[in-house]
Structures are given as structure tokens and as C-alpha cells.
Amino acid sequence: MIFAEVQPRGVPKPWGLCAAAFLLLALLVGLGVGSIAIGPVGIVESALSHIPFVHVDSPLSSVEEAIVWQLRAPRVVLAALVGGMLAVAGASYQGVFRNPLVDPYLLGVAAGAGLGATLVIAYGGASGQLVPPAAFGGAALSVALAYALGRSAGRSRSTTALVLAGVTVATFMAAVQTFVQQQHSDQLQNVYVWLLGGFSTATWHDVAVVTPYIAVSTTVLVLHRRVLDVLSVGDDEAASLGVDVGRVRLVIVAAATIGTAAAVAVSGLIAFVGIIVPHAIRMLVSTSYRAVVPLSLLAGGGFLALTDVLARTVLSPQELPIGVITAFFGAPFFAVVLARNR
């Protein structure tokens, strides 16, 4: 009886457990590694001691407690949230555009966020608090413009028009950003630090600000995992299967953009996560979005949390920009994917 075999693979259990274990391990490493090393058992017991009605005493000193929960934890959690978001958004963009090499910055999120942040750094004076909302606004505006331009360029269902519109908007935003940056060369250093991305200033406040956006965005995208598989057979066939392709594409792009913009607003422009993670899952597990999307969320979170550990330890006490590390591993990986896609 073949009936048992006629089912989608979804997320194979062993891989689901692997990805969850990877994320957990990355979080423990992130909390434990640093100028003062703290063992995983201590961290787990300390964590349990903070849970009401669980009677475990923390073995950590009050200084260690502060290091783990006030300095490292917000940073590790933020890196995991941003990593998961960028990976899921990357996978979704790849599905919507049926192109395995696109990333979540395709429609101008990065250029728009860069322009927003640069404007505030250049004209906003010392107040760094306005940078995230300005970056978020720039990113969202950029994609909205690209979408409007892509739709007005004739065939609303064509992805090519949308991609070209994204390139157009991104180029324009980058031109304005460079101009503003050159006019305020005294702020060049601050702009660069933001563009390269990182979590060195992460606080629980940042985590609280981005969590709602990332939660909504990833929930919507994970719910679309089967629909992304339907889109993989092409616009016409998806439409003849009863899917409103134009609307679905808009919903997925909008959800991915809101989450990505929020992630970029608090972490700067971190490249390649949205390509490396979904592809690693395609190579290891399956190309069905029912596996790629949920596993990208877990593995992306673990990947960026670990990358951040490298960023703050490799040249310690100096920090490497995290974007340098993701690009250092990402570029060769990208080349391999490109070669395999011939």
C-alpha cells in the first residue's frame, strides 16, 4: 500500500531536533564565552533560579549574574532573533522570486535602511535613539516604492519588473545616502559602524522593540510554507491551482520586509545570512519550503548567535564587525551554490 508514502516530508523529526539543539547550543555558547568564561551548567541553573516556583539556587556570583543576564543575554538573544528573521526572510524571498540566489535585501531594504540611518546620524545630532526608527522607515519606504514601481511597470504578476524596480530604487537610495555621507564626512565613522552591523550595543530594550515585528513576520512566513511550495511550480500553474499569485506575493514580501526592516534597524546590514542558512538546509534536508522555512528560523538564529561570539572573541578585546564574518564565510559559500546551480 503506497498510501503511507503519499505525504509531504515536512520537517523530518531528526532534523528538527538537530536545528533546535543547534540553537540551544549557540545560546549557551553565547552566554558562556567571553572574558569571563561561565560553564553551561552554571548558566542553566542560574536560568532556572530566575523562574518563579522553581527552587534552584544560582551558583553564579552577582557579578557573573550581571555579566550573563545584563550584558551577554540581550546580545545573544538579539543576534538569534535577527539571524532567524534574516534566514526566514531570505528563504521566503527565494520562494516568491523562484530564484535561489536572492536575499532579503533584494527590493531595497538595505539601501533604504542605510539612507534612513545616515540621514539621522548626519542631521540628527548625537541622539542615536532615532537611528532604528529611521532605518526601519527607510527600509519599508524603499520596498513600498519598489513594489509600486514594479506594479506600474505593466504586468503586475511579473517578478522581473519587481526585481528591476527594486534595483532602481536601491540604486537611487544608495546615491542619496552616499551624497549625504560625503557632505558630513565628520560622521563617516558613525555611519560605517552602523552599516557594517553588529550587536555590541544590544540591550533588553532593543529585544523588546523588535520582538513583536519579528514574531508577527516569522509567524506569517512559517504559515505560508506550503503556499511557497505551490508557487514553485510557476505563476500560471499556481494560479490554475486556485492561488491568487499576485496577492500571495504581496503578503509574503510585506511580511518578510517588515521583519527584515526591524532586524536591520537594530543590527545594521548583515549580509549573507539570508542566503547561507536556507541553502545549507536545502543541501542537507530538502528543498521543500515546508522544511526550509521552519528550519531556517532555528538554524539562522543559532548561526548568527555563534557568528556574534566570533565577532567579539577573535580579536578580543577589539570587536570585529559581524558583517565581515558573515561575508567572509558567505562569499565562498555563495560561490559553491552558484557552481552547483549551473
Binding site: 503506497i2 498510501f3 508514502e5 503519499v6 505525504q7 509531504p8 516530508r9 523562484r98 505593466g154 504559515l223 505560508h224 506550503r226 503556499v227 511550495d229 505551490v230 514553485s232 511550480v233 510557476g234 500560471d236 500553474e237 494560479a239 490554475s240 491551482l241 486556485g242 492561488v243 491568487d244 536545502r282 530538502s286 528543498t287 521543500s288
Partner: protein
């Protein structure tokens, strides 16, 4: 039953179909013929609701433009000329996509959907291939997987755009025999076809399109005359009738 009455379609301001009218009875197989650019594919796309049309298309008495996308997908299934076949999906996963019109937007397949996909796989003798990836199949097996996906959709109207392109002669015949056998399930078939002999051999009736209009309609004997073919295709052919079958053979003058 399918009925087209004065159906016109324009693409980017260019008229592609101009007031075409024809009927397809329930259970019938109608072959759409015509030279390149005659509007065969556009006619199929109009029947699948993929392009806007003026005039009236009726499916079993209901106007197509009044049907929702999902309702239409339960009645009509389209196999495009070059379907996208994501190489990483398993045959089972691919065939299950055919159940999309029956699933809620965020829902997943239930037992009934898996049973329908299993029936489609068995019907096309793909049982053994359920867990194989599409990328590992041969051309003929892929063609069967595409038909199984269409069958799992359980629509009564099957639209085929050039179902035998890129297949060798033997595979062409196998594919068409397979389609012919699906009619036992009560399917109504409209197919765009290039090969005139095969079109005449398998279809009940032929509709010849030229520059967006119906140029001729009827049995193979009526439509596939040397004059018609010379006139509409600009081709020089010899037409041989043998035991009721029409053979269209290219010749040099």
C-alpha cells in the same frame, strides 16, 4: 460542457483572440490546431481563467467569470507546455500540490487528499516513484508525474498545451494513449497540438485557429484537407486517408 461565445482576448493591447466561438461536449476530446501565433495557448489560458476575456465562456452552464479562483480550479486543470517541475520535491509532494484548491489557505492535506493523490499515482503507474525526487525521473516519467498532478486536482476539464513536445515518437504515443485512457474517468479534454496526424488520430473533433479566429472546425476528414493546410499553415502536404484515419505527410513540390 464548455461553450465559448464571441470570446476575445487582448494581450498588451494586441488582439490575440477575436470573437471565437465553439463548443466542447462533456466527455469529448477537442484538438486545437493552428500555426504558431494562432492563439491556441491563449485560448487554453482563457479557459483556465488566466487571462481576461470579453465575450462569454460557460463551463457546464456557469459563466467562468462568475466563478472564484478556487471554484474554477476544482473544475479546470491546465497542464502548460513546459510545466515547472521543482527537482527537489518528491513525486508525492508534487502530486499533492494538485490538492491545493481543496485546502484552506494555511491548511495541510488530510487523509482524503492523500488518498486522491495516491489514486492519481496508481492511475499513472507511479506508485513506486512516490518518494523519488522529480529531478531523478526520466522525461516520460516526468510527463506522467505532471499528468498525475493534474489528475489529483479532480477537475472534470483537462486542458493540455502541446502535451507531447520534447517527447520522442514512442513517448508521444504513450502520453496520448494515457490521456485517452483518462477519458474513461469522464474527463473533457481540450488540447493544443502541433502534430496534425496525432491530433486527428486522438481527438474527436478539431478546431483550427488562425490569427485569433476559428478558421475551420469539424472531424479530421473535414479539417485536415490539403487545401486547408496549405492555406492556414503555408505548408505543402499530402493527405492520405486509410481506413478512416487521416495521415498528414509533408512533401516537396
Amino acid at each position: 460542457m464548455i461553450e465559448l461565445a464571441d470570446v476575445s482576448v487582448s494581450l498588451g493591447g494586441v488582439p490575440v483572440l477575436e470573437r471565437i466561438s465553439f463548443r466542447v461536449e462533456g466527455g469529448e476530446w477537442v484538438g486545437l490546431l493552428g500555426p504558431n501565433g494562432a492563439g491556441k495557448t491563449t485560448a487554453l489560458r482563457a479557459l483556465a481563467g488566466l487571462v481576461d476575456h470579453t465575450g462569454v465562456i460557460r463551463l457546464g452552464g456557469d459563466e467562468l467569470s462568475g466563478l472564484g479562483r478556487r471554484a474554477l480550479a476544482r473544475r479546470v486543470t491546465l497542464v502548460p507546455q513546459q510545466p515547472e517541475r521543482p527537482p527537489g520535491l518528491t513525486v508525492a509532494e508534487y502530486v499533492l500540490l494538485g490538492r491545493t484548491p481543496y485546502l484552506s489557505y494555511f491548511g495541510s492535506e488530510r487523509a482524503a487528499d492523500r488518498a486522491a493523490a495516491a489514486r492519481a499515482l496508481a492511475r499513472l503507474e507511479l506508485d513506486r516513484f512516490a518518494t523519488r525526487s522529480l529531478g531523478s525521473l526520466s522525461g516520460g516519467e516526468l510527463q506522467r508525474a505532471v499528468l498525475a498532478r493534474a489528475l489529483a486536482q479532480e477537475a472534470k476539464i483537462l486542458l493540455l498545451d502541446e502535451p507531447t513536445t520534447a517527447l520522442d515518437l514512442g513517448r508521444q504515443q504513450q502520453a496520448l494513449e494515457l490521456v485517452a485512457s483518462l477519458r474513461e474517468d469522464g474527463l473533457t479534454i481540450v488540447s493544443a497540438m502541433h502534430d496534425l496526424t496525432l491530433a486527428g488520430l486522438y481527438s474527436d473533433r478539431l478546431v483550427l485557429l488562425d490569427r485569433g479566429r476559428v478558421a475551420a472546425e469539424g472531424s479530421a476528414t473535414d479539417v485536415l484537407s490539403p487545401d486547408n493546410i496549405a492555406g492556414w499553415y503555408g505548408a505543402s502536404v499530402k493527405v492520405v486517408e486509410d481506413d478512416g484515419t487521416i495521415y498528414v505527410l509533408p512533401q516537396r513540390d
